[in-house]
């Protein structure tokens, strides 16, 4: 098996898990108990598939934006259904809107594309760095902006407070707030 070490694995090891055990982001989704179809009749095709999977499929292909070309409306709707079928934690937000205080434009991102908070922050940094007045937004200390999100219940939380799994299943939208406003949120936690 190819070694495919990613930051998410490291992060996951050290994370306190509050969610249901056994929900593993990197695991292939093919343990799904899809409704029984007559796939059994095309036995040869199935065998070919298994062979192919072992020989050539990379461990976890990087997700490609917008592929397969299914509209997010349909994709989100069925994502919820899939979660119900597989009896997993409900997969709520996939594409979420991201706004930044002071920036006139909203963006939309797919949370499924990122493996953890680090990647998410990187992506948001590169997406919005042109808008921050001081140029480089330092992640290490004295951040001028703080990342917050609105969860399923309508509450605004700091990004990073909860385990990644829980975050992506409950995040409805993201907002990059000015640092002084975010302090109120932080002290609440």
């Amino acid at each position: 098996m190819g070694s495919f070490v990613n930051d998410a694995d490291n992060l996951r090891d050290t994370e306190l898990r509050l969610g249901l055990p056994g929900t593993d982001d990197a695991a292939p989704e093919k343990s799904s108990s899809s409704p029984s179809t007559a796939r059994g009749t095309s036995k040869r095709a199935l065998e070919d598939d298994d062979d192919k999977k072992e020989l050539s499929s990379p461990p976890a292909k990087a997700q490609v934006v917008g592929w397969p070309p299914v509209r997010s409306h349909r994709r989100n709707n069925l994502q919820v259904k899939k979660a119900e079928v597989e009896v997993e934690a409900e997969a709520g937000g996939l594409y979420v809107k991201v706004s930044m205080d002071g920036a006139p434009y909203l963006r939309k991102i797919d949370l499924k594309v990122y493996k953890g908070y680090k990647e998410l922050r990187q992506a948001l940094d590169s997406m919005f760095k042109c808008f921050s007045s001081s140029g480089e937004v330092s992640r290490k200390e004295g951040c001028e902006y703080a990342m917050t999100y609105e969860d399923k219940d309508g509450d605004w939380m700091m990004v990073g407070d909860v385990p990644w799994e829980m975050f992506i299943s409950s995040c409805r939208r993201l907002r990059i707030m000015k640092g002084n406003e975010a302090i109120g949120l932080q002290s609440r936690a």
């Binding site: 397969p68 070309p69 899939k82 963006r107 939309k108 590169s126 042109c130």
Partner: protein, 631 residues
């Protein structure tokens, strides 16, 4: 049937010329000012302002107008407008529906100035790949400028249809208030508005007949801000004929909805969202027994304990039995399959059935589909598998359009339908015009079989979800299969390719796909030759969208002779550079060449990530966001 990506179907739609105003013969035609080529489809060349024609000519023009009013199809009208100035003027005054395929191709002032008596506006904005998150949501395509212009110039406006445009709540309010005759609003894949806008619209639009909201992306609102828009329709008897709100994903005030249906005697099309339960649906059907189109909402029982109680399946079936006008069914958003038999009474009359949100198996589908002898349009989830498609093929001999959507829309998914299902369909549904098929396993042989059996194919869109997947039996590329399609299906105007593909397939498309107008390419081809073939060979090509394919500047430049004939070209994640794009912009001054970056700094690099170019009479637009540069 809802118009989820109607593609070329919309282009060919004939338009009835309605309500030609009796006073049109006289006056008002002086000094129309310089007007350029036609809006949207490409009309005449520049026509200069001139003095009013002499009297005898005026008589002729009156006669002409009387005749031209009957001309419906916009392509015919464009042709008529090119005959001479007289015809140009007469046609402009008798065009009742203004279709603008790219809202940036022409300015509101120019288009509205030419077609002064238009009563309907159809506008399309963003390119289709915006649906797949390839364009940030604030890219543009605002309805506002068109709206504010029409408030002044076209107070008689009756109908608006927008696709992939941004419409604000304020726009909706202004729309409802400014046009006393307004009656039809259709929004497809739009965004920018929410329930407050709908509320304002419902309240102020007194003569509303059609409100169709299809696949729109409504603004998320916290619960307190969600407006009870259904309650805002006028209290009196309404003229509502069609109400579709499947995409409005907020709970709806059911009592208000039921009351609205009860006081809308002309209602024939009702499509509710998934927050309407089966019990509630039954009540709605009872209120509106003459419905022709029904969107069934969740199609499951109340989830709230102590809700409507159990709904007797027999009661539901009786309700459907009484609805003997139903020809189109959709919804089934959270289907409780045990209630599906309730629709048996209407199956034989169904022309259109959309089960694409219903997670059902072949066994659950079979008893339904075996009764749908008259079905022409069928949308379904791949959970029904090849077996389910066999059942479709067995019964639906008049099927014109089939769409098979993936339950699991990821690359690594198992995929439940395959070449077997495709062959079955092609064997049974010989009259197929249009197919969209998502799968993971396909063979050239199956595609070839379809190309031979279904010679009437106009739209062929095959999406093999795993990238670069070859024929799963032979291991070869899918070139031959798609090649067969373009060779054998002479009426083909729209094609989407997928799977492992080399330059060869594009050579086939160029040589045989002479009628192709829309081509979608992803993860395909080996070199610039592919693009060169297509741009040089497909003389009727109007819309070309390409992603993640190794095409560079040489390929791009080979289309310079053709770009003015196209509506647009989209290329993302290819191998383009600023140099090539600049060259195109330099040589084609009436082309708007937009380079889109993920953030503005990206625009300085030589690599072009996303290119969107389109012909326009107006030059660069003034509402482009910072991450778009127009060359």
């Amino acid at each position: 049937m809802t118009e989820e990506d109607g593609g070329d179907g919309e282009e060919n739609k004939d338009v009835e010329a309605r309500w030609w105003p009796p006073e049109a013969a006289d006056g008002g035609r002086l000094g129309e000012g310089p007007s350029g080529s036609g809006a949207g489809g490409g009309g005449g060349g520049g026509v200069l302002a001139d003095a009013p024609p002499p009297f005898s000519d005026q008589v002729l023009e009156n006669v002409l107008e009387n005749v031209l009013q009957f001309l419906g199809c916009r392509r015919d009208r464009n042709a008529a407008s090119l005959v001479c100035r007289s015809w140009y003027r007469a046609e402009a005054l008798t065009r009742s529906e203004l279709f603008v395929g790219n809202c940036y191709a022409v300015s509101p002032a120019r288009a509205l100035g030419r077609f002064r008596r238009a009563r309907a506006l159809v506008l399309k904005g963003r390119p289709r790949f915006a649906d797949f998150n390839l364009i940030p949501i604030d890219w543009g395509a605002l309805f506002s400028p068109w709206l504010t212009a029409m408030v002044v110039t076209h107070p008689w406006l009756e109908r608006v249809c927008l696709k992939r445009m941004t419409v604000s709540d304020d726009d909706l309010a202004l729309l409802a208030r400014s046009f006393p005759s307004f009656r039809d609003l259709t929004l497809i894949c739009c965004d920018g508005f929410g329930t407050p806008g709908l509320a304002a619209f419902a309240e102020h639009c007194r003569n509303l007949r059609v409100l169709d909201l299809i696949e729109n992306d409504l603004e998320d609102e916290v619960d307190e801000d969600v407006a009870d828009w259904i309650s805002r329709f006028p209290e009196t008897i309404t003229c509502l004929e069609s109400l579709s709100f499947e995409c409005v994903d907020f709970p709806v005030n059911f009592a208000a909805l039921e009351a609205l249906v009860a006081r809308s005697p002309s209602l024939r099309r009702l499509r509710v969202n998934q927050h309407v339960s089966l019990g509630q649906l039954r009540r709605l059907i009872a209120r509106a027994p003459h419905l022709t189109h029904l969107g069934t909402g969740s199609f499951r029982l109340e989830l709230v304990p102590g809700g409507a109680g159990d709904l007797n399946a027999a009661d539901l079936e009786a309700a459907f039995l009484a609805s003997n006008s139903l020809i189109c069914l959709s919804g089934f958003r959270e289907i409780a399959p045990e209630y599906l038999p309730a629709i048996y009474p209407v199956c034989v009359n169904l022309v259109s059935l959309n089960l694409s949100y219903a997670v059902i198996t072949a066994e659950q589908l079979r008893p339904v589909i075996l009764q749908c002898h008259n079905l022409q349009t069928f949308w379904v989830l791949d959970t029904v598998g090849d077996e389910g498609l066999r059942a479709v093929a067995k019964t639906c001999k008049n099927l014109h359009e089939l769409r098979v959507f993936p339950f699991d829309a990821t690359e690594e998914s198992e995929g439940s339908v395959s070449d077997i299902g495709l062959v079955a369909i092609s064997g049974g549904c010989r009259k197929l015009h249009s197919i969209l098929y998502f799968c993971q396993r396909m063979t050239n042989a199956a595609v070839l079989t379809m190309s031979k059996n279904c010679q009437d194919l106009v739209v062929f869109r095959l999406c093999i979800m795993g990238r670069h997947r070859p024929d799963h039996v032979t291991g070869e590329s899918m070139d031959e299969g798609f090649g067969a399609i373009v060779m054998n299906c002479k009426k083909l105007t729209r094609l989407a390719v997928s799977g492992l593909l080399t330059d060869k397939v594009f050579e086939y498309i160029a040589n045989y796909g002479k009628s192709v107008r829309t081509l979608s390419v992803a993860f395909a081809g080996n070199s610039d030759l592919s693009l060169k073939y297509v741009l040089e060979g497909c003389h009727n090509l109007q819309k070309l969208e390409i992603r993640d394919s190794p095409f560079g500047d040489a390929g791009l430049l080979s289309g310079i002779h053709h770009y003015y004939n196209m509506r647009f070209l989209w290329m993302s994640s290819c191998k383009l550079s600023l140099g090539g794009c600049n060259e195109v912009a330099r040589r084609l001054p009436h082309l708007v060449v937009e380079v889109i970056g993920n953030f503005p700094n990206e625009l300085d690099s030589d690599t072009v990530h996303k290119l969107y170019l389109y012909r326009s009479l107006e030059g660069p637009r003034d509402d482009a966001p910072p991450y778009v540069r127009t060359l």
